[in-house]
Symmetry: none
Subunit: 194 residues, 4 copies
DNA sequence: AATGAATGAGGGTTCATTCAT
DNA sequence: TATGAATGAACCCTCATTCAT
């Protein structure tokens, strides 16, 4: 198992730090290696190439990110609360990890098409969580039954992602966590007065 | 005036085509020049450097994109219809220009931080249009008066952007325009049953 | 005749100014053209190529420089006075023309081998003046008759050139003209005590 | 230590050869690398950039050149003999190294202002040797005590440099070493008959 | 397993020169 | 004569990857 090798994790952690501090294009393999305390060549004993390092960063970090959301939402009984928890956990985790937020929202987006395909694969698990909450909400008659699930999923994910990106680009000046109720309320009630 | 110079436009059009077909990192200056039917050096008579070409592509294309949305929404009387028109025009224009959709949704996002800052400046006009519709809707008592405008704006933009990006990444297999009423409905009514 | 064309001289004068202010490598044809108030292409109506401009600058300016020295030394009766006058005129003329001194001592030396060959041709007239003074001095029994003329010529030219170059590189902080008697004295008497 | 790295010296030697044979402007990094038997990128493991290679060539070669002169003159007892030895060593060393003479006398002078500043710094050691000989000569009452040392230093250096440059530009057709006594004699006795 | 010196392909940009007007 | 827009060849440097030790 990859993850049990200590150097593997050293490299992943170093990569997050280096990318957050130097940007995607300022993160040479040699810089990551140095930050990880290994030789350049050692990177290639644990990763196929540089792209594999970046994908792995995303997989490891987003895997944990999604796992936390899964576990937290599972503890809630109804879809409404689950949605609230998902939003809360999404904002909370990225608020808590300064480096990670920069890396996922800004830097890894500069990767090429192929890398983004792989990133999307990782995100599928997140989208599945969302889909399940939506289905459950409809069954529980908390959500409208005429909703197109993929569309709603895109709305929710697009919104959360946009909000976090804006927050990161504004140098994280305000408290993201305070937005949770308003965002949840917006999803639930929409714009209309009645 | 920049725009009246035919070579300027030739280069812009060539850049869109080359970037759409070769990806951001596969779009060398020489490739763009060849596609535009000019010499490499000619690029530098019209643009400061390669980045300036890319910024200009975005400015010209998104400028027109936003102008169309502004004009169309201005012809509508109430905020509800304006929002509908905005969504419709957003999807319509990107549906209609295969290359442009790829470039704006996928390729230009791979640009570095500085370029993305400039891209965001161009998008401000779009966000202003959105903000004005929202303010108008609240005044007209069509939208709830407890809405946080920046948040709603982020929701709408994030959603539309995510939907278009998904459509492009799915190789534009389905008809984006058919989604307009559902998206509009989603924004208006939210998820709740009542 | 080249010299009667006003544009020819405009370009020469512009070249001296531009090279003095921007250095050899910062003096593009377009910059010289602009300073001369002509179009880039016009340069090529009066000069074969850029190198020809630079050679012509040297020819024109050094031609006048040497002519002044020839005329002044011719008015002196003996070789000793002629040598004194040559040194005086050499320093005087370069002291008086700030731009010219920079161009001849520093910038044109950065030219390539071929250009320097042509520069040396221009300097031959100067060296001939020197040789004649030396021959005359020997005939007049003012100078030792065992002198090797080419060697002495190289000593005198090398010395004057080195002194002026040092003065230019020290940003012309001291008065070059005050050095004339000491330099002349040095040439005449050498280092020995007796 | 730089000098113990074999590649460092390979590159220096290759640079001298390439510059001597192709001229300053014909000496691309790739050409130097090829001549040194290393990859282009290897140059940048040992030198900051191309200019650093050229400065280092001058530092290494002139450093050795000056060291030889220092050691040889130190073995002589009086200033007169030291001056003779300095001239002799100056001519001897450049006579002995065909490539080096071309590089120092012709090609490196085509470098830009910044590089020439650094070259001048290297030469300061040579000028100090000269100054010390002059001071010693005055103390020993072998040289006139009314000499202005900087001026005499400029005369001697300017003369030697001009003589060697002429010899190189004449394709080294005559024996430079035979000139030593005459040059020394000229410095000592000057031009005057008495 | 680990090292790190060495590799070498690849591209944005400048600028002397040309030529249609 | 004069223009100046257009040309396109030329080059330094970076950095992901390899491989002998």
């Amino acid at each position: 198992m990859k993850n049990n090798k200590p150097k593997y994790n050293q490299i992943i952690e170093a990569a997050v730090k280096v990318i957050a501090e130097n940007g995607y294009h300022g993160s040479q393999v040699s810089k990551i290696a140095k930050a990880a305390g290994v030789a350049d060549g050692t990177i290639y004993l644990y990763f196929k190439n540089k792209e594999d390092v970046l994908v792995s960063v995303f997989e490891e970090k987003m895997g944990e990110f999604i796992k936390q959301i899964e576990e937290s939402t599972n503890q809630k009984q109804n879809a409404n609360e689950k949605l609230f928890t998902l939003i809360k956990m999404h904002f909370e985790q990225l608020s808590a990890d300064y480096h990670l937020a920069i890396v996922t929202q800004l830097e890894l987006r500069q990767s090429n098409y192929d890398l983004r395909i792989q990133i999307n694969n990782v995100l599928k698990r997140y989208l599945t969580v969302l889909d399940n909450i939506l289905k459950e909400g409809i069954q529980q008659q908390l959500f409208r039954d005429d909703l197109t699930i993929p569309l709603v999923r895109q709305m929710i994910f697009g919104t959360l992602d946009e909000i976090v990106t804006n927050w990161v680009m504004n140098e994280q000046k305000y408290d993201l966590n305070k937005q949770v109720p308003a965002v949840h309320d917006l999803f639930m009630k929409g714009l209309s007065v009645d």
